[in-house]
């Protein structure tokens, strides 16, 4: 027996019935692509092509086309990598951790958030692959494959190798989780479709019929996948932070990195989910499923994680001074006052001050304010990684090797390429796949819709 809460806000508004869910979500899958979708696709494909040129130049000429130098050997490539991986944290967090906590508001946003995760991880993986230079040899460098060097194995002591395993496991498990959720919804589309699309969605739906036994197993599988994915999400950014934390570079060599990176990842991931969902709900008219209440709840996650990130920045700075290690303190003093002061203060403003605005209810329930702040947060999180990576490297131990990093058009181009890739993939997903998990939303219609079905 379902009980309707009188305290909580409804998660589905305007008295939608179960049949309405099917209609509203299938509409854009079955209809012709809208003008705004076509325009978005045109822009994404342009970015993909322009960026593709930069990628080809990079592969042809080598990593030398980037602005890296002897002192700053990691810059935009790893910044972009960490940034995209961070964004890829929200999807599985929403679908796994919020499932374990039985948060029903996850149901209308998890599908799109998981898709975002998968595409963001693909974009992230581009950077470590491309920065190897000779990508075609990458398999031997990154995976424990037998080789002609007497089987000289990969180094399992290296956090960079842990990253290979963490990211590829995260990608695979997220993909499986996402696809499992899609199967019942593909079956819904299959049963409405005709002709060739019926065949295609028939294959995609794996012959799903919705029997009680299959549903019971499906629920168990989803619960255990959530249990597995929860530590996995936390482990991925922890391991990414090990890339820095286990080195002996002042500014990187800090034990605070794992929790600080995980909080930052959730922070930027939720910001990206908000950016995308605010556009998607308007483009596909899903305002009754992704309500202001959903946006407010996501903004609350942003306040929490943003505050954790802010505290981490301050703690880091304090410890750098309190430890009495001169090199460590200099790295931080140089961040705030050196030649990259503008990057540091952009990061501080965007990540520490701007999310605090969400304490005001008017701001966190305003769509325009949320949209702007979500973009500001993502700019801030990009600068966070840039500051951590470049400012720690550019003033080396010897002042004679101090240098600055200047990006070339190929740095910009490869970054643009990943944007093109991300938005092309996301728009294709939004057109051909159900953007809202229909089966899950249908299961809460009775308990969380405004108009409750009282036929019994």
């Amino acid at each position: 027996m379902q009980v309707t809460s009188t305290v909580r806000d409804p998660l589905v508004t305007n008295g939608k019935t179960i049949h309405d869910v099917t209609e509203d979500v299938c509409r854009q899958v079955e209809g012709k692509p809208s003008k705004s979708w076509m325009m978005g696709m045109a822009i994404s494909l342009t970015a993909l092509m322009l960026g593709g040129y930069a990628v080809i130049m990079l592969l042809w000429h080598g990593v030398g086309v980037w602005g890296l130098n002897k002192t700053v050997g990691w810059a935009w490539d790893i910044t972009n990598f960490v940034w995209w991986v961070g964004i890829g944290h929200a999807g599985t967090l929403i679908s796994a951790i919020l499932l374990l906590f039985r948060q029903k508001w996850r149901m209308s946003i998890n599908r799109a958030a998981e898709a975002m995760t998968i595409f963001a991880v693909i974009c992230a993986a581009m950077f470590p692959m491309l920065h190897m230079g000779r990508v075609w040899l990458g398999f031997y460098w990154a995976l424990p494959l037998p080789n002609t060097f007497g089987s000289l194995w990969v180094n399992f002591n290296s956090p960079l190798l842990w990253d290979v395993f963490a990211i590829s496991t995260y990608f695979t498990v997220s993909l499986v989780f996402w696809y499992l959720g899609l199967i019942p919804d593909f079956a819904t589309i299959r049963d409405r479709a005709t002709g060739i699309s019926k065949k295609i969605y028939g294959v995609l739906s794996f012959g799903w019929t919705g029997g009680a036994k299959t549903w019971a197993r499906y629920e168990t599988v989803a619960l255990i996948l959530a249990g597995l994915a929860t530590p996995l999400v936390l482990s991925v950014h922890t391991i990414v932070s090990f890339d820095f934390a286990t080195s002996v570079i002042p500014g990187w060599h800090t034990t605070i990195f794992p929790p600080y990176f995980v909080a930052g990842a959730i922070f930027s991931g939720f910001a990206m989910v908000l950016t995308l969902m605010i556009v998607a709900r308007a483009m596909f008219k899903l305002e009754d499923y992704i309500t202001i209440h959903h946006i407010e709840l996501m903004n609350i996650v942003i306040i929490i994680t943003g505050s954790i990130v802010g505290i981490a920045y301050i703690t880091e700075f304090f410890i750098a001074w309190y430890s009495g290690v001169e090199a460590e303190f200099y790295a931080f003093y140089n961040r705030a006052t050196g030649p990259y002061w503008w990057a540091y203060w952009t990061m501080m403003t965007c990540n520490v001050i701007s999310p605090q605005l969400f304490w005001v209810k008017k701001i966190r329930t305003s769509i325009v304010a949320t949209f702007i702040l979500s973009i500001i947060v993502n700019i801030g999180m990009w600068f966070e990684r840039f500051v951590i990576i470049v400012t720690s490297l550019h003033r080396d131990y010897l002042p004679s090797s101090w240098a600055m990093f200047y990006p070339t058009i190929y740095d910009v181009g490869v970054y643009l390429f990943t944007f093109g890739l991300f938005f092309t993939a996301f728009l294709l997903f939004a057109k051909f796949f159900p953007v809202i998990n229909m089966a899950e939303v249908k299961s809460i219609i009775k308990s969380d819709s405004e108009k409750v079905n009282t036929s019994n």
Partner: protein, 175 residues
């Protein structure tokens, strides 16, 4: 009459009506073939008297396999096959092997469990689904009763289904 061919279908609009109906139909001694729903209905598998799935055990076993494989691989490669001197560290040290071990445990557990689920539930891309009612994936719950597996005749079963709160009672024959 051959089994798995002629069915009586009860169509239900509401999940709570369905749950009560499943119990009342089973109490009359009628055997239910399966109940189909557009979304998971909690408590339905208990009402139908299904055994709890043992998939969690499969997940655990596959996870353990992942742990064992990951540890064996790392210890053998770096400890025995080609010991490498890296900063004078031990050839065999457990702590740096933990991250990869954890990841492979999760990977094998997840893939193994989902693979097992696909196999036992017979989900595969080229499968032709047996659709009892096209509205199942939209908004209707459908109870299917196999006539060959029940002693009562078609009309008696239809009456029981109708009385349990079904909004429609239909017949379905598969070739």
């Amino acid at each position: 009459m051959t089994a798995d061919k002629n069915f009586v279908l009860g169509v239900y609009e509401d999940e709570d009506v369905l749950l009560k109906a499943v119990k009342s139909v089973r109490n009359t001694g009628v055997k239910i073939h399966e109940v189909f729903s557009p979304y998971p209905v909690h408590g339905l598998e208990d009402a139908l008297g299904y055994r709890r799935t043992r998939l969690p055990i499969a997940a655990f076993m596959f996870g353990m396999l992942g742990t064992a494989l990951a540890l064996t691989m790392q210890i053998w490669m770096l400890g025995f096959d080609w010991p490498m001197i890296i900063g004078g560290k031990n050839f065999f040290a457990l702590p740096p092997f933990i991250p990869v071990t954890f990841e492979l445990t999760v990977l094998l557990s997840a893939l193994g469990m989902v693979g097992t689920f696909m196999v036992i539930s017979d989900l595969k891309p080229y499968k032709k689904p047996r659709i009892f009612d096209i509205r199942i994936t939209d908004d209707k719950h459908v109870m299917a009763i196999d006539l060959a597996k029940n002693k009562l005749n078609r009309d008696e079963i239809a009456k029981i289904v109708k009385d349990s709160g079904a909004s429609e009672v239909n017949d379905k024959t598969f070739e």
